[in-house]
Symmetry: D2
Subunit: 378 residues, 4 copies
Amino acid sequence: MSSFGTIFKVTTFGESHCDSVGCIVEGCPPGLALTEDDVQPQLTRRRPGQSKLSTPRNEKDQVKIHSGTEHGYTLGSPIGMSVKNQDHRPGDYSETDLYPRPSHADWTYIQKYGVKSASGGGRSSARETIGRVAAGAVAEKVLAKVNNVEIVAFVSSIGNVSMNRDPQDETFQKVLQTVTREEVDGVGPIRCPDEGVREEMVKVIEKYRDAKDSIGGVVTCVVRNCPIGLGEPCFDKLEAKLAHAMLSLPATKGFEFGSGFAGTQIPGSKHNDPFVWDETKQRLTTKTNNSGGIQGGISNGENIYFSVAFKSAATISQEQETATYEGKSGVLAARGRHDPSVTPRAVPIVEAMTALVLCDAYMIQQSRNATRLSISDN
Amino acid sequence: MSSFGTIFKVTTFGESHCDSVGCIVEGCPPGLALTEDDVQPQLTRRRPGQSKLSTPRNEKDQVKIHSGTEHGYTLGSPIGMSVKNQDHRPGDYSETDLYPRPSHADWTYIQKYGVKSASGGGRSSARETIGRVAAGAVAEKVLAKVNNVEIVAFVSSIGNVSMNRDPQDETFQKVLQTVTREEVDGVGPIRCPDEGVREEMVKVIEKYRDAKDSIGGVVTCVVRNCPIGLGEPCFDKLEAKLAHAMLSLPATKGFEFGSGFAGTQIPGSKHNDPFVWDETKQRLTTKTNNSGGIQGGISNGENIYFSVAFKSAATISQEQETATYEGKSGVLAARGRHDPSVTPRAVPIVEAMTALVLCDAYMIQQSRNATRLSISDN
Amino acid sequence: MSSFGTIFKVTTFGESHCDSVGCIVEGCPPGLALTEDDVQPQLTRRRPGQSKLSTPRNEKDQVKIHSGTEHGYTLGSPIGMSVKNQDHRPGDYSETDLYPRPSHADWTYIQKYGVKSASGGGRSSARETIGRVAAGAVAEKVLAKVNNVEIVAFVSSIGNVSMNRDPQDETFQKVLQTVTREEVDGVGPIRCPDEGVREEMVKVIEKYRDAKDSIGGVVTCVVRNCPIGLGEPCFDKLEAKLAHAMLSLPATKGFEFGSGFAGTQIPGSKHNDPFVWDETKQRLTTKTNNSGGIQGGISNGENIYFSVAFKSAATISQEQETATYEGKSGVLAARGRHDPSVTPRAVPIVEAMTALVLCDAYMIQQSRNATRLSISDN
Amino acid sequence: MSSFGTIFKVTTFGESHCDSVGCIVEGCPPGLALTEDDVQPQLTRRRPGQSKLSTPRNEKDQVKIHSGTEHGYTLGSPIGMSVKNQDHRPGDYSETDLYPRPSHADWTYIQKYGVKSASGGGRSSARETIGRVAAGAVAEKVLAKVNNVEIVAFVSSIGNVSMNRDPQDETFQKVLQTVTREEVDGVGPIRCPDEGVREEMVKVIEKYRDAKDSIGGVVTCVVRNCPIGLGEPCFDKLEAKLAHAMLSLPATKGFEFGSGFAGTQIPGSKHNDPFVWDETKQRLTTKTNNSGGIQGGISNGENIYFSVAFKSAATISQEQETATYEGKSGVLAARGRHDPSVTPRAVPIVEAMTALVLCDAYMIQQSRNATRLSISDN
């Protein structure tokens, strides 16, 4: 459905070809300083039309808060937010209406809903993610106040050009420990903090753009200062909720955290993260972090990091042999220009979903912990 | 929490060191033939102690249905099921009680719950999965009646020995189309249907077993005959629920479906699955299946396939340098013998979670579809 | 929280002193004809300022549909709707800001949320019900298409002037069988279809209005043509969901269905509803209807009827001795004129909540029933 | 469905004619002292066969805790509990199998589920409430530790013999302030603390018992020391959840809290509860308590009290004219002896549901409050 979360919960609405898109955020704690200025930056980062590498569709995407705040502070009541669709042209796709776009949602939406929408895949549009990003910005503010939680995502591969993501690689761990959003954005539209591969990534995208083709990539995300104890065994382990959140994003193909798929090849004796005493934190930490900050489904205070695979965009301008809805073979070419790689734009969306997962997990754990303390004999 | 699903819903209970483990299945349709004989086989497949490759801990794991059926048919009321813990020895881990096991849940459970359980990681034990497998067996029966849905999982890699999982590889597609549980089980404890790599996998496990070490692997799962239209945009896309389900399993590190992480390197023009008319099915199908049977978060009738990464087991018999709960450095060695690879045993658990996701998604879609038809003017 | 329902689900936002109020409706079946014209009538019926008996606060309350429909039909995606707050004056209550209004939500909201909102009781305002009414209008349309379901509420008592609500009274049963919204609205602002008591009710309200006081009342609601089989044992029995829905409305004090509290005095031999064969319907019906259309938590096809108690409005213009937030005794008088009885305005709100409960229950039962049929051997 | 609650959540299973009945309690805080001895007393109070006024069906109803505790303390993991059905005789009702019992769930269950169970109404049996009572006992223990919360229910009317329940009656308020479970149980099977009406109640029940008939009644419940701030606007107001909980009990017909239905006749000027400063508590309290301890859906620290109407039991031994499933007129008489009034036995069940509602509401509020404090600048 269109709701996500248990206590800190978001419900979204809107598709590309309607009046507006937005969300309701339930469960936000009262007393949080919050205005549109807190929400807009991530929406702006998500916005298309920011560079020659991405789609020219221009949207202002100005968010409005309709409820739930007063004098710049949250009341604890639902926060309604929306963004106008200024650029919707319901007739735009009409020429290609005979064809379900390959690897797009057009055909499955009709099978599921029994109706055909102007946009084809209705809610499968990336525009649906605006509500998520707006809600995520609120969650981020809560987390920042709670424990100075930092969430930073970046592009770690484009096509076959990839950063070294080996969890035991020192450079990679350094990036995870230090990378900021400013750095990620400062390096141009590609949003990859590794200058060793960045140039090459740009070239790859340009190559596919010029070929009227598209190419996928991987977004890696790190969470620093995550409170210890988040995640709910057994079904709502923290990695399970993160995987759910990430695979609910359009165009995703995979998720891995910590050592990930590569970790299956590392024997336990090397993969296990030994405990060591940290004098500064006055608690146990782990010497290595193959666990990716989560053990037994619960955050352990180390950096949480994970990667999300984004497929090559399904909508391409070059001609494709396929079939019409009625089954006649034919050739389809999407009109206009299309994003050769959605991966860089996914960065703030991945951050938003991460914040939603963590904020909800935090509030559930707060419930347990505060109740546990209130029933304690001491 | 310990519940999963919206309409077809399972709630589990139990840890290793208590009286029993089990579940309640809510929302099962009435009139389904169901006895313990339907549930036991998958529990038996999940059971440890089946071969010299796995742990000798011997459990009978006989399931009992407590409610929800009469004369061998479901009533539509909650189905209570349980399995006795026959082998629980709360004192067993006492010697190592000073140390949180590295990369295990011991330390995070204490941080989260504020209490220390005999088993250390409480519900993080693989024994918790019994309730899932029992519930999954019910879901599978529903799906089999609905559309002859077939769910088959198998080991596709152990350590660095791997089947070719390229979605465009013909051998791999052949396996996905034809593999049966009988075949998977018939090839010995390794549960890999590819004879080209099977022997080598066994050797890898034996090597790590002999070294008192452990090694991870990948389980691949295919769903055939899945009804079209399952999965709920936007947050509960079918792949999102599958990812959630899989990453909620102990020891998992990643999930990918269809072309997965490798698919990020294939340009859109080749990655897109063109539509073709299928005369037999009298509907559109896709020529290739990089989408893994899911488009826009919705099943499209092609085979659904995905892979799940399982890390090397955290509990190993060899000595590990680590620290005690109080932070003193020391050396820990788990007593007794331990499973060098949990991956083969994960096969029926992956199948169970898949069935739970699909059965719930099917019942939600049935709700929409039946209501849509009942409000139609025709 | 601010969400209600499992499959057909509404989430609302907004309080009196913000930009707008509204809702998101999830789970609406696709293909339903729906425009603002379907939603506006119930909002208009809910609107204050319609007669000299009610508050002069004038709101246009024009609803706008933001998403989820195209060309006048639902897509199956979330339906976002909102109504502007045109008359909000955040400073309006300032003079009485020192006092928590007695029997209002001012004090408890501060205790709960730790912040004080301009409106005092934040979401406790009747304005919050706009989102419910908008969502209920959609649910009603579904139900009307499904089985010509009719939901009609009316005022059955004001203060101590009451219709005879004895379930065995013929006149009362006649009203339940025939009353329409047109009749209810046609008899003036009091919305009581019984001309024997209507005049007296008006006089009672006028008396309390002139005394700057308020008076409560009872709203009775009947549902005709409800499909058989709705309601989910054991916790979500149909009457339990209706009770939940009704008691979630501002100013309610009680709920009873069928014979209600009076029914506790009727012995089983008379209270039981004997079954009889109905030739027209070709099924069993009941001779009497003390059950109020629900048996074992499940609708039985008879008329569902229930009553909801509304207390005398807490905000009155006369002076009240009470205390300030700091505990100093003093005298409070609300400024301006206030509704002497909210009961008549509650009529469309009760109908809306009823529709929301039934539509969700219907879609859950459709899920079970369609799945049951799909697994049947025949 | 068969689950209730959001954080502190119970899922129940079992009907009369199966192996056992029970529940899983999720979300219980860790570190709570808990053994079967804490749960058994309320189950024993619920048990039939305790007096000549109630049904002779004899059940031992010994509860067993299967998981979630160790060494007498909760772990924070799900608590599985069950009670064996020792007295189930699936053939017992066979003679009357031709007739759906009037005002019972037999007919609606078949309509809903499409299958006929041995017990007729499946989960509509009072035996289903065992899981609720077991879970409620856990919730009560939490609440008692939290703030010494006391929950006491008692019979306030049988047939037309009733205590004075006027909220402004001094004797009634005295009872609410002081009544204990010991007192309620100490006065014999009728469980009414008012000696002025108790004798007469017993006579009423005896009269109907001798006439092979049944009679209904009202159970009133008071909660003392409830923490302030519980209840979730807008849909999950505390009274809404209580109403939901109560109307989900078998045989209930109505719910009212505070002044209830009678309160609709009291003008606002008298109904409003003025605030006064309480020197002992160092906070505002209310002079009167027509609000029943809940304002704006949120507990205000005063006593919460409400009443629940229970209908006359549907199963009676005297002959009733009715129809068979096929529609033939005939006469039905239930075999054996049946409870002439279920009302006294409902007392511990009402208490259990109250505890479940409050414990969940408390934990949700703890989540908000603890998070609010953690984001505060001070």
